[in-house]
Symmetry: C2
Subunit: 314 residues, 2 copies
Amino acid sequence: VKGIDIHTHVVPSAFPPSVRPGVPGWPSMEPVDACRANIVIDGKVYRTLTHPCWTTSRRLEDMDRMEIELQAISPMPELFSYWMESAPANDLIRFVNDTIAAFVADSKGRMLGFGVLPLQDMDLALAELDRLKQLGFAGVEIGSNVNGEPLGSPAFTPFFQAVEALGLAVFVHAVRPTGMDRAVASLICANILEQFPKLRIAFSHGGGTFASLLPRFAEGYRVFPAVREMLSSPPVEQARRFFYDTLVFDPRSLAHLAALFGDGQLLVGTDYPFGFQQREPVSRILETFADPQVRNRLIHENAGRFLNLGTVSR
Amino acid sequence: VKGIDIHTHVVPSAFPPSVRPGVPGWPSMEPVDACRANIVIDGKVYRTLTHPCWTTSRRLEDMDRMEIELQAISPMPELFSYWMESAPANDLIRFVNDTIAAFVADSKGRMLGFGVLPLQDMDLALAELDRLKQLGFAGVEIGSNVNGEPLGSPAFTPFFQAVEALGLAVFVHAVRPTGMDRAVASLICANILEQFPKLRIAFSHGGGTFASLLPRFAEGYRVFPAVREMLSSPPVEQARRFFYDTLVFDPRSLAHLAALFGDGQLLVGTDYPFGFQQREPVSRILETFADPQVRNRLIHENAGRFLNLGTVSR
């Protein structure tokens, strides 16, 4: 059985210049050699990238080697552009999303797109979300916060409402300044899955440190009436309705996540093709779990539910 | 077998006024009723406290009920006073430490003291550390950071050097602005146990979210040469030489900590007598672990090593 990897990144091989003069944060790409390029932001090399970031044929070879049938591809988080003025951010994000759509079209049905949105401007974000749906994207990638604003803030309610209505998946990726544990806790405090029960939300990196935080959160719910009043259902119950990827680099930690969140909520995620990736995701699952049904759930079935593959065309 | 609880807090029943006029942050206590008092800081009620915070006889009764033979008692973290000017902070801290010494003297040998230090001023801190040793304290309680400065900063090297020389234990408690995961990671990055191999350091709340962070840290060590160069020994190896309390409110998470850090490194910690405490710490260990040797380690043997009970007079 081949797997579905919901956490992989892409970067365009080049960026157009901005039509607006002197936009801080606008990226450019400088080739290093045939296989590598530097992404340069505000005159500094942000990161050296390798050609699997933008070369679909090479990705397909790697997917075969990694026993991955299908990749959801999402932009490198630095491209969220939340910290850029919203008009140029929207220009950049449209280009990035169009590039993703091109990669998907070139993938022989083996890639699905997660687009990004200029969430610092809700009107622009909702317009781009509609465009993603028309382009056939499977979902959106959002940051663990938007310029420090927690995801559970009422400011983002229109986004979650629209995503639910469009039937797209939400992939939450850590981004500065605040981490994933707060992202999950914030969405639980906002009762987001009580408000929008059809939402499908996955957190990268196994939910970050949220697994360590959840039991304390649950005890707080038990002890403090104010916490109980805030939440429509208990933290553990809400936590077990989110999805989490398997990118935790340790079999014991992976088994712990399955116990805590449920083996129906874990998805293969690798961070391919970055240096800090999980190179043998399927083997790691086989090593950690003996039950064939659990293995199948983690390798592809849960991802099928998260991506709603029954209705998304491949 | 009765347990040793290394994570309990005390608060003086009253505070003297400051000899210096108008010190921001200096606390006072206002009785609410026979059993409760408000601690007031800068004109605001910081917290309502109950009399076990300052009543040794009541603590001893609760310890019997909780199957705890020995408590290490440390101040409520708000009393760290790192954010106060150092001269009045030192006044307050001396008073708090003297109060702890009095509680210990009144405890029929069933309490050990963890004092606090004005770590915003290293000269004052080292002088008070000497005084703690003379007063027979078993250790010191320090924050997870000092006004945002990470514990691994070279600024704190003289403190760790002196603590090791005096043979006192170090109990690290979370305090604003940054959490426990960064505290542990910072001390590993500083190779603190390589520099001072006789140090005995315990982290509260099971190390906070550090358990979720460690496998990623270990993978970073494997992948990035710069991380390998920084560390004298691998992160997991260093992590397994620290102690962590059992205050995680979940048997699966407790078992996970034992697997990750080693069952020789976990200590009973309850947060007694605060509202958010672990009320049946020994039962939780018996529930989680079947092996009698492992149970004994967690209930009292590891704490005996951490507190160096072979040499500290009880």
